[in-house]
Amino acid sequence: MNYQLQINNITKSYGDLKANDDVSLNIKPSSIHALLGENGAGKSTLVKVIYGSLLPDRGEMKWLGKSYSPKNPFDAREQGIAMVFQHFSLFESLTVEENIVLGLDGVRLDENFTEKIIKYSKQYGLDINPHQVVGDLSVGARQRVEIIRCLMQNPKLLIMDEPTSVLTPQEVSDLFITLRKLADDGCSILYISHKLEEVRQICSVATILRGGKLVENCIPQEHTQQELAEMMIGKKLIQLARSNINSGEDIFSINNLSRKSDDMFGVDLKSISLSVMKGSIVGIAGVAGNGQDELMELLIGEITSPPDTLSFKGNDIGNLNSHQRRELSMFFIPEERLGHGAVPDMGLNENMLLSRPQKSEMTSYGVIDWQNVETLTQKVISDFDVQTFSTKMLAKSLSGGNLQKFMVGRELTQNPELLIVAQPTWGVDAGSANNIHQALIALADQGSAILIISQDLDEILSLCEQIHVLSEGSLSTAVDMTNKGLEKISQLMVGSED
């Protein structure tokens, strides 16, 4: 069999940690090859080795039949390997064509060049206007710019790191069309993702890594999503199911809430209304940057609003600060963990005090009972399986997933009647995400209300009974899921309703 890229027994260690342990992988020409794994499984290390930004300790690679050991990314690009990163490297104030030309060597920006951009754009369905300023583009369009920039180098292998994490469903299916065309034209694709349904849709082979080791090379269509996930995390996933949907009266509502953003690049919120019933999970879907941060600030109480714009258990609470809201048994988990939901330079025990309500067993008249704080922190750590050496471990030295588990646990131990959570599983590995979802469902089963703001549509679809979409600061009414619900959501997300 003829392989385009052969990777044999790559090992790379950082101190005692083997980030890649004897990993082998072969990519066929014209194939879309998935690289699957949780955070820390060694995906990025392997990709860095391929892209020349890391030297492996051991192992060898063959590219197009010849020995291949790139010294740096420049070298890799010369030989026909290109990469689209998860975080784009574009200048917002420059136009599309200027950005593209800046990423290339030895070319000038002239009419030929612009034509070439248009040619690629047509050929691969990458809809883009070369003269537009990047700052005005959507995330999906920016990704298209990155892809075109890569294509200009005539790559034979395109590495894509989590390409769909920021895209709407429509943009995802457009991207897949492009990728299939590229593969047909002879450019193979290494597709890094943890979204298993997408991998099953588009990839012909999948390589699964776990803990730096190769677990399995398989054909994704031959396995269910669940099987793939279990191979990734190495243990059984718990099926998500509500055992007790017993929603009662409205407990929380947002009433015509508007806000003019004080940030130049912020989004104004336009007359948002929504209500949440006891025992129900309500989701707000939408692409990031459509007012989620602005809304979350108002919900937490970091910025106050007129009293009657928010009501909880019959009280007008818009003018209360977050501490006062917690008094009423509202709790919050913000999207950003370090620096917002937790103080990076403080231990977990001190962070435990951050979201304490006034009447807490951790303090009396403001005097801290460190003994109780310790006990409670221990409880959160063990109940939510937070991997840490001690309760004094600094928040910043925990991995993202671990810290998220801690923060979810911290709020849940307060038995909130309403939990408002943004991006509950952002950057969290599949196993932990499963645990967090499980915990949220259990909370709702007990009769608490939950409001989830998330970009992850799968998450929203699997957890929420009622779904709204936030787009450019406006919130849709609840989407009727029985009749083409997903299509409706997709339209609402890109703001093209009707």
């Binding site: 937490i300 970091e302 977050s322 501490h323 809201r325 620096g339 939901g341 330079d345 005097v367 600094l394």
Partner: protein
């Protein structure tokens, strides 16, 4: 190659060792400086005069305590504000205003007997300092004016205001036009706790205050509020702490304590209000606070150390005719090494060879 690797937890051993390391490095550097500049003088004897002699003699020891007390009180207040990221650089000004306010009360009740006079003067001193720091708090919370500039600039205003007061309303009516107040009467003088020296009750109050501050910072949610506002403002909002209140608290506490120290100095060692009231304690206390790592109990020790350098520095001026800047060089080096060594608490040094 040497590399610094972040620790997962702060090292307890280094918290204790790094000050000793800093002291050793300061001593070595001081030694090298002395060796290179001193002619015909034994370096070891200068060292002795600087660091050991002040501890051997009861007079020097008492003077050391007299100087440590105001440093302690001011540094306590500053360390609370610095934890919150509120940079009150003008404690010297608040110290002067507190001194003027308290002295004015003492002079108003001139020749009136009563145990209540000193507490009343102390209260006036605190309020004076609070008022002066409050200007910065108001400007910061209302108009986002940088508190570093406001407090620092107001220091010069305070010193000029002191001379204005001493040329005018507070001048001794029978003092031959010297810009000095009357000598305070007995009821307006700080009670001496070590007979025959100038050590007064302010020292005891300073020690008590540092325990109160320790309680507030370690055991009370107020300490958390201060710390979080300084290191993670968004998290402070998440917790429901009001950042304007943090600014006010920080400046009022540090200003009030600086004012108290000013009054203690006027009603203590000086015994009257003179143009010599400002002695740089307000600035030196910044060093004291940082040497203590902003820890209230640490302030007890660091203020003694800095006071030692003052007394020792005066002694080498007298005995060896060395310039006063010796003290400042010493204090500067100490702070420098101390801050540098503190990195070892959060990072560990790893030596490794690169093999390719």
């Amino acid at each position: 190659m040497i590399r610094l690797i972040p620790r997962v937890e702060n090292s307890t051993a280094m918290i204790l060792l790094s000050p000793l390391l800093a002291l050793t490095l300061t001593a070595i550097s001081a030694y090298l400086i002395f060796v290179s500049i001193l002619v015909d003088i034994e370096v070891s004897s200068v060292f002795y005069t600087l660091f050991v002699e002040p501890l051997t003699d009861s007079y020097y020891l008492s003077e050391l305590l007299v100087k440590a007390a105001p440093l302690m009180i001011i540094a306590l207040g500053l360390s609370i504000g610095f934890r919150a990221g509120v940079w009150n650089i003008g404690a010297e000004g608040q110290y002067v205003i507190g001194g003027i306010a308290g002295s004015a009360v003492g002079l108003y009740f001139y020749d009136v007997e009563g145990f209540w006079i000193i507490p009343l003067m102390a209260l006036a001193g605190i309020l004076g300092g609070m008022f002066y720091a409050g200007i910065a708090a108001f400007l910061k919370t209302r108009y986002q004016v940088n508190e570093i500039l406001v407090t620092l600039m107001l220091t010069y205003v305070a010193v000029l205001f002191l001379s204005a007061m001493l040329q005018g309303p507070l001048r001794n009516p029978s003092g031959f036009n010297f810009p000095e107040s009357r000598l305070f009467h007995d009821s307006a003088l700080m009670p001496i706790i070590w007979q025959g020296t100038r050590v007064h009750i302010g020292l005891i109050i300073a020690v008590l205050l540092s325990f109160v501050a320790w309680f507030g910072i370690k055991k009370h949610i107020f300490g958390m509020q201060i710390k979080i506002s300084g290191s993670a403002p968004r998290a402070a909002k998440f917790a429901g702490f009001n950042d304007n209140k943090t600014v006010w608290y920080s400046l009022l506490i540090s200003g009030g304590l600086a004012g108290l120290a000013g009054l203690f100095e006027a009603a203590g060692p000086a015994g009257q209000l003179t143009p010599g009231l400002p002695q740089f304690y307000g600035f030196t206390a910044i060093i004291v606070a940082f040497l203590a790592r902003l820890h209230p109990i640490g302030v007890l020790f660091s203020s003694l150390l800095i006071a030692l350098s003052y007394v020792g520095g005066e002694n080498v001026q007298i005995d060896y005719d060395l310039p006063k800047s010796i003290t400042q060089i010493f204090q500067g080096m100490l702070l420098f090494y101390f801050l540098a060594c503190d990195i070892l608490i959060k990072y560990k040094v790893v030596l490794f060879k690169t093999i390719r």
